[in-house]
Each structure stands twice: as structure tokens, then as C-alpha cells.
Amino acid sequence: MGEPGTKEVLNLEDLQVSGGIRTGRKHILSILVENKPGVLARIAGLFARRGFNIDSLAVGATDDTSISRITLTVDGAAHPIDQVTKQLHKLVHVIKIRDLEPEETVARELALFKISCQDGDARAQVMQFTEIFRGKTVDVSKRSVTVEITGTEDKIQAFEGMVRPFGLIELIRTGEIAVARGRSIT
């Protein structure tokens, strides 16, 4: 792809096919870190350095207060992931990283939908969908309903598709958290 010494002009198509090995799947990285100031910035910096976009990010405490869990999803189709995980391992405060296989992982995300409901009919329909998706209605006003949906990314997207025609005022998602299936430790 053109050494610095060459002056050939590159066309956009050539640029788009270059780049490292891409896996073509979504990656859920589960990262155990020491609960120290700046850890998140260091991890985010490693992704930024490569120009990666983090699709979702969830940070929370674990059963040990000195350790936190970061669950991070990135698109492997857009970015080669293995180098990043190796670099993450080198961070002093990072204890463990697992690139979770989608088939062997239980992943959940929580989303809050604020949906416009101009009349009782609309509200009834939205609440019916909510029941089907096993969601919860958490707030109602004259012209809106707020619904909590928990599930996989696909489920949240499906629900979004159902309620969007009513007028989606806001959608707020937590980002996925995930745990490995079976007895093995994430």
C-alpha cells in the first residue's frame, strides 16, 4: 500500500480493501480490571489509537470491590481485534480479558424506550407489545409511555422496530453485559 517514498495517488476503493485480518463478527470483550483511577481511559485509549469505534461499553463493580468488570463490544468486521486484546493484556491494571464467543455466551442489555402515545389506542398497543416482549411499563404520561426491555441486542432491535411507528421520543441503552455459558468462569 504505497511506501512513504512513493508518490502514487491512491483511489478510495484501494484504501477500503487494505487493513489487517478481520473476523467479520461482533466481539464481546469481558475485561476484569483493578478498580483504579484512569483504567477506563487507558483501555479506551488503546482503541482510540487504532481508530476503533467502541459500539457499547458497560462498567460495573464485581463481587470484589477492588475489581471492576468492563464489558465492551466492537465490530470485528470493521477492525482486527486480536492485536488489541494482546495490547490490553499489557496494561498493568488489566487482570483478565475474555473475547466471548457469541454461541457460548449469555448477553443482556437493558433499554429504556420513551414512546409517543397520542391516544388510548396507541397506548394499549404499545403495552401489548411490551407484554409480548416481556418488558415493563415504567412510566406513563398523557402523551407518552416509557418501557423497559431487557434482552439480547436482537430483541431490543425487534422491539424498536415495533414501536418506532408510534413515534420514538428517546431510546437509551446500557450497553451489553455478558457471562460465559456453563460452569466456566467469565
Binding site: M1, G2, P4, G5, K7, E8, V9, L10, N11, L12, L15, S18, G19, G20, G45, A48, R49, R50, G51, Q83, V84, Q87
Partner: protein, 558 residues
Amino acid sequence: MRAVDAIMECLKAEGVDHVFGIPGGANLPTYDALYDAGLRHVQCRHEQGAGHAAEGYAKASGKVGVALATSGPGATNLVTAIADAVMDSVPTVFLTGQVRTDLIGTDGFQEADISGITMPIVKHSILIQDPRQIPTAIHEAFHVARSGRPGPVLVDIPQDLSRADIPYEPVDNVHLPGYQPTTEGNLKQIRLAAKALANARRPVIYGGGGIVNANASKEFRELCGSDRFPVTCTLMGLGAFPADDGQWLGMPGMHGTRTANYSMDEADLIVAIGARFDDRVTGKLSEFAPRAKFIHIDVDPAEISKNVPAHIPIVGDAKHILPKLTAEYRALGADPSRLEGWWQRIKGWQDKYPLGYEQTADGEIKPQYMVQAMYEATDGQAIVTSDVGQHQMWAAQYYGFTRPRQWINSGGLGTMGFGLPSAMGAKVACPDDEVVCLAGDGSLIMNIQELATCVDESIPVKIFLMNNGHLGMVRQWQELFWDRRYSSVKMGASPDWVKLAEAFGAKGMLISDKNELVGGFKEALAEEGPVLVDVRVTPEENCYPMIPAGQAARDMVG
């Protein structure tokens, strides 16, 4: 069009006519485009020099300064200049080359994660990921650099993307939803401020570099002149108000005048405009201006109540706010005689504590006198840049700046080695002005390589070197606060500065008799090219007055 050619179009559209930098592998395409783009490129000898030159250019002209560097070491050499620019709010754009995209993150040759390295010291940065994004990114960079509170913006451009063939359309506006600086200032707050001014018995107007950045010196002077308000300006604000005016108290802070510091100490109202209550101004914060209420006018809301709680905060551009404040104040018709008693108190301090130093009987050159001689030789009209240390403080005390953008120094970061490259940038921006770099011997050697640039590019700056053979300010602190344990503060085997200047192809002069000083400076100023004048001053002079670190204005010594 090649992306790099689009960059040149964008620079021209932004009104850029001078850029500073050094080429290398990763920005070869940029330099190829620069070859016949019709911009003047000043080829510096070190990227730090290029960065400070861009700052000097920006500070002297008010335009955005631009510096170019290659990836890796080129980019990391810019880091000090970027940090300097963020601390002093200097509008600057740094364009760095980056290794090509397939090498990013692989420890490629000359790779450094410059956007990561500079994350805490930029106003904004953009890592280019799609060549079609380049024109918009350049315009965004200029917009962010110059608007609101100005600052440095870095654009990191991978080498392969810069060679891409992109469709180029001129970009006429930028859209940054998260970036909407407030400019106007809340009128209700302005009215409150006017009332507070009218009620104040012991007001002080405290201006900072923000006034210079906002090009609001005229408006500032009108506010100050709307009554006999006592005025002080910070190191960065010097020149915003003329030092020969009767309302001028001198600079506040660690090496400010006693009058300015005592006035702040006893004031009942302090009007801070584009100033940020730096620790070098306040001294011990808990004892700073204990009787005062504060009006704080700043374009950066994060500065309000950062160090000192503001009673009347006004967020916005000084250029918009000050005329409104002046008009509101005038409309109140406050009685000017209420300030009589305050001025008597201030006059008392002015008479009792003028700035001064011991004169010498023989030819020995006192450093303070050197600044006065500089003033005389330049008629007080030169643009003066300085390095950092005692000489910087003496220049601030004794040069008596009368116009904004006349005084260029590194205030926030305190970067030694800033003087020469910033003088170079200032001279490029203002070729018709006399530009003098008042240097320290410890500082000058840190970026002396730029003398080669000055000679090569015919940039006739005059370097007046205050040579005391020491890291003078550190020596002073060791003397006063560290039991005279002089640890690594003697410059020892300094170079022969005259020969050094000559080796670079500049003229060198040596002056060690005070009677030759003004004449010598005039001779240097009359020279066509760059001149370095080595002035041997008293080696162990201390800079006074001084608020010892961590103490209050009341505790000034010397």
C-alpha cells in the same frame, strides 16, 4: 483532487499565508502539495521551534498559527508547544503526519500515538480515518482553534489517506453540535455587575490574556475609563491597558507591584475579565482578597468559580460584554468622588513602594536597567518576546507595554526556550514591527537552533540575551528558600555567544558596560539581519518584590 491538495485549499480558505514546520516520511505528501501551493513555509530546525513559532505568529497577529510535523518524533517534538498553547489559550492548528493506516497500532517505523499522547493538552484533536473527511476536519480544526476560548487543535493524517484521490468541494460551514461557545453574556448579569461597580468603594479591575485574545483592549480601556477605576493586568494581559496611564497599578501576583497586590487585598470589588486567578496571581488562595466580591467575566464557563467563587459570573466574549457593561455603568451616573479615598490609599502605596533596584556606580549592568535600556532603544514600541525566568519578570515589570500583542511570553506552562522561536513567528506575522527577544542564557540554548532558521529565511529578529551565567530564578529560590544550597544552577561552560551567533551566520555582539547598552542595542536594531547581543549582567541579582510561594499578598518581600 489529492487530499493533500485539498488541505492546501482549505488552509487558503482559512486565510493562512504562513506555516511553520519540518517535513518527514509521513508528511511527504503534504510537503509535495505545499511545494507550489503559494503559501510561505518557514522551514524550522526543530518541531518544538515550529510549534512555538506558530504560537508567536498567532499571539502577534491574532490569526491561527499553523505548524506541520511528520509522525513519531516529529509529532512528539510538538508536544511542549501544544501544551504551551493550551495553557495560554493560543489559537493554533497542528497538522501531523501519521504512518499509513495498515501500520497504525503495529509499532510501525516512526509511529507514535500522537492523538493519544496529546489528549489531555489539546482543545480538540481529530484522527483522520477517511480521506473524504479531511477538508471538513481542517475547517473544524480552525473553527475550534479560534472560537470560544482559543486553543490548540491537532489533526493527525495517515500517510496513505493523505495521498488519496478525493472529491473536493469547498466547505463553507462546520457543524459541531457539542461545541457552541457562549458569546453574548447575560444582560441581567451585566446590569447586576454595573450596579455592583457603582456601589463599590474600593474596586479593582483585573484583566487577563482573555482581553487580548478577544481583541477587546479598546472596549476594556473604555470600561476602565468610564470612571477612575484602578486597573491591573496579569502577565498575559500586559498591554491590554497602557502602562503609562494614571489608572495603572502594575501587574499583580508573585512578582507584581505592591500597589497592585495591596489593592487586590483591600478591594471590596474585583472585576476579573479574561483572567483565571492563577496561583501565581493569588498566592495563598484562602487569604486572597478577603474583603472582595467578585465579578468574573470569561468566555470559558469552566473558569468561573474554579479558584475563587464568583458572586456575579458572566459567560461570554469580552468584546460583546464590555461595551454593554460600560453603557450600563454610565447610565447609572455613579458619583466618581466616592473613589477619592480609595485613590488616596493607592497613591500612598505607589509613593511608598515604587519598583526599584540598586543603581551601580561603575559600568556593571543591572538586569533591570537592561530592560529599561531596551525600552529606550526601541522607543517602547517593539514587540517583545521572552523566555521564562527572572528576565521575563523584569521585562513584565520594566518594559511598560502600551498596546496589546506587544508582549509575547509563555505564562501558563512557563516554557524555557519559548523566546527565540516565538520571536521568529511574531516577526513573520509583523514584518514591519521591531521584534526583540529578551532571552535568558539558560533558556536561549534550549532552542538556539532556530537562529539558523532566522538566518536562512531572512527573519531579522534581535536577541538581547540577559546573561547572568545562572538559571537565575532557580538560583534565587535556592538562595531564599533552600539555604543557599546551589544545586546545578550555574551555567558553567556557557558557549561564546558572539562566536555562536557568527557560526549561525548572524551578527554577534558583546556588551558588559552599561554606558554602551543603549547605543549597542540601537546598533543591533539598525542591522538588517538577525543579531544576538550578549549582555553581561549582575550574576546574582534577585527579582523583587516577591510573594514567597504559598503566602499571601500581604507577605510580599523585597
